[in-house]
Symmetry: C2
Subunit: 491 residues, 2 copies
């Protein structure tokens, strides 16, 4: 029996959970809020990592590794940061267990209490800037452009696989610069890298913009974000890049001598994306039959399923299948040939639809006679019979079409789900009738922002970078506004 | 002023510390026992990871990710494992901080105490087998062959960069099988993968063998090891592969129905290598001038240093250098062209010797006239003038020679530092006069093993797999022995 998902129309949230579990992407572990990323899910994450890592290196970054633990006192050094991060986190207080004197397993050894508690990193600005202090004396030591791939822990109360987990995997870039201008350029370069990755590899169109002051990273002067639209009309913040000014340099006393020999504090940025991107990828494209993966991030782009009754038919199919596999491999296309004999072709078809394999090839005895193969696309669920001759060209082209089509489909959905409104009533109606991105005028105050959030659960996702200036009045207060901002309900 | 290392003859241990710091490989962090892996050191680790990961995938393994935290009670489930691992470890007891009521930073919120403490994983057998329980019902679900790249924490009292740190990076493979034989074959396959990697990529010859019962992994029925010899005559255990029998399956109640429908416990293996390999790589080959890196793991194989007085000379050199760089790039050889103008060539020569770059090319005005380039090898510190024409072939060949030479040199050193002894006096003399690997007869008892360790600090590194049977008598007790085992002092 094939695995059936709850339809999106019935419960989008249950559909997502079903899909993550049934497509073997991830599952909850025995530790509250921590997930197990299963091999198929991890293979997608590895493809994301490989591409992002290449993009980071192409923009002049190097990888390094900083400690998992951060001394508690470090958090108190940057005033805004402590408010944002030093709250819900895992605290290490002891370093030894001992046999239970009552003979019942192991207990914490009360003698082994740490003098200062250690925090499992929720983000690494503090420990990294404490380290950079020793690396930086003069402008010659700048810029420093480090990235690390790491696990981080934020003790979230309500968790959802990939979208919000206590432990998650991410990369965090931390750069140090001699000028404000250079740091701002770095912040912008990286939000552009994230946007390129989302659009060209994930097939997910994003809106680039600035966060409002209340939504900024704790300790940042400016937070850039990319916002993606999910099929339920909610926004998903998919990557952020922070201009940190001199805040962390001041907190950790990191100064440098400039070319003129004058001392100044170092300018900083940080930027990150996480396994949350897996959630974005899943929710942006998939359907009631399962995952829809863009070819560039699929663990394998093509699966071959043999259709046969007799063993000698399978043997003949194998020859053809292995030949196709070898030809596609030469073009860098990964192929799985599933000739396992404990499942029927129909079961396999459903399974690979569930797993989002972009192209499925079916080969049966009639195909052998005719020199053909059945080619099924996952993105639009169409099928066609294609000549074996030149099949590698055909599939290479098809994968490009699929990659483009997935992006165009998401772009089309976003266009349909985006509107501009001028009154608060229109705004509320849009949120209920056709949720999505809503462009509206706002008076720029935290007060109004909070009122809208409290009353509608919609937040300002960003002040879009590409939005033209436009005179208007705030939809709530009627005060003047120079530019529309983008609202949505969000994950 | 170039950075000078303490010579090995003066203090091998200080030489190692100097080298790790001065070659920018790693440094101690603000957190006791935790290191910062700097970009140059991390780049070597990334090359190791990439190659190992390819080898794991070629042998049918998939990557996955399991939680950082393990519930305390899990450690008590496997009797031997708890003794070995549930002792010196980081214990998370709370999940929230709060503002200090006295206004002095943040303190642990006493209300936020976990019901059950969480241990930061020192190794993941317990959490993984608790997960596998849900993945395995029948023989059709087997084998499972997962690997994870992760950080682990063991609260070591005395730490040394790369060799022994509280937090370290590693990979841990965890496989599940339906038969004992298959699990043993997996254990052996992986120790062979590690040995191949050490010899072919790190250029470090290793002895494969079995650990004695007292040195086995906590919970294993058999531990396979690869042992490498460092230049000070000490052994470094460089990778281990464990046959775990059904111990973890029994502890976590993981059963499967075999083809006949009969229930049995699942058979297990685990295997790992860590950033400790960095220590082995550094100590096996390097000299008083700095690192010596095998080309296959060097972040860049070639550095080009221009030698010039006038800017127009540099411009001409740049043309030649960029041409060489492009040609080498086509062959997959990474080249750094260092035309920075704030350091003299002599300083650069010393710096790249310190960093172990396998080949250095010097290009000056005379080379431009003659169509030549000076080629310097890091491994044997020789130099030659070579025609520019065909330089790419020349360097590709040279890198292969260097890779082979580094290995041969280490192999020669090991041969010189290996002996067989028949009496305990000879044994002690060998340890003092010419430390290295010592092959001797042992009566097979833990008592004798312990006595030798207490009296000489030498341990049985392994019972070598390739050692022929040979009748003899234990050098200490005179009791019969059928095979020599390998002793050494070790890291």
């Amino acid at each position: 029996m094939a695995k059936v998902l709850t339809p999106r129309s019935e419960s989008y949230s249950q559909w997502y959970n079903d899909l993550v579990i049934k497509a073997d992407l991830a599952e909850n572990s025995a530790v509250r809020g921590c997930m197990v990323i299963k091999p198929y899910g991890y293979a997608i994450w590895e493809k994301m990592q490989a591409e992002l890592d290449r993009m980071f290196k192409d923009t002049g970054h190097e990888n390094a590794y900083f400690p998992l633990f951060i001394p508690k006192s470090f958090f108190s050094k940057e005033a805004a940061h402590v408010e944002g991060f030093a709250k819900e986190c895992a605290v290490v207080t002891h370093y030894r267990l001992m046999n239970d004197p009552n003979g019942d397993g192991v207990v914490v050894d009360p003698e082994a209490k740490l003098e200062e508690e250690l925090i499992v990193r929720p983000t690494s600005e503090t420990i990294i800037w404490n380290t950079y202090k020793n690396w930086i004396q003069s402008y010659r030591d700048l810029p420093i452009k480090c990235n690390q791939w790491a696990n981080v822990v934020r003790w979230e109360m309500r968790t959802r696989l990939f979208l919000r987990t206590a432990e998650f995997l991410w990369q965090e870039g931390h750069t140090a610069h001699s000028t404000k201008q250079e740091a701002i350029e770095e912040t912008e370069t990286m939000i552009n890298v994230y946007a390129d990755f989302a659009e060209k590899f994930m097939g997910v169109p994003v809106i680039k913009g600035l966060k409002t002051a209340s939504e900024r990273f704790a300790g940042a002067l400016e937070t850039y974000t990319i916002e993606a639209l999910m099929q339920d009309g909610k926004a998903l913040q998919s990557g952020t890049s922070h201009f940190l000014g001199q805040n962390f340099a001041k907190a950790f006393d990191v100064k440098f001598a400039n070319k003129e020999g004058k001392e100044d504090y170092v300018w900083a940025t940080s930027w990150g994306v996480s396994t949350r991107l897996m959630g974005a990828l899943i929710m942006a494209h998939s359907d009631d039959k399962g995952l829809v993966l863009p070819p560039k991030l699929a663990p394998y782009q093509v699966v071959i399923v043999p259709i046969y009754r007799k063993d000698e038919e399978l043997e003949k199919i194998k020859v053809v299948a292995e030949d196709i596999k070898a030809k596609l491999r030469l073009r860098g296309i990964d192929v799985k040939f599933d000739f396992s004999d404990n499942r029927k072709p129909g079961w396999k078809f459903a399974e690979y639809e569930l797993k989002g394999v972009p192209v499925r090839l079916g080969i049966g005895p009639r195909d052998l006679e005719n020199g053909t193969v059945e080619v099924a696309r996952r993105d639009n669920l169409t099928k066609e019979v294609v000549a074996l001759d030149g099949i590698d060209n055909h599939i290479a082209d098809l994968l490009e079409q699929i990659q483009a089509n997935i992006y165009q489909k998401a772009l089309g959905f976003r266009a349909e789900s985006t509107c501009s409104v001028d009154s608060y009533d229109e705004f509320k109606k849009a949120l209920d009738d056709k949720p999505g991105f809503i462009f509206a005028h706002w008076d720029g105050t935290e007060e109004t922002e909070k009122r809208i959030k409290d009353e509608t659960k919609a937040t300002i996702r960003c002040i879009p970078l590409d939005q033209p200036d436009e005179e208007g009045v705030c939809m709530v207060t009627g005060k003047p506004s120079k530019k529309r901002v983008m609202f949505a309900r969000s994950y």
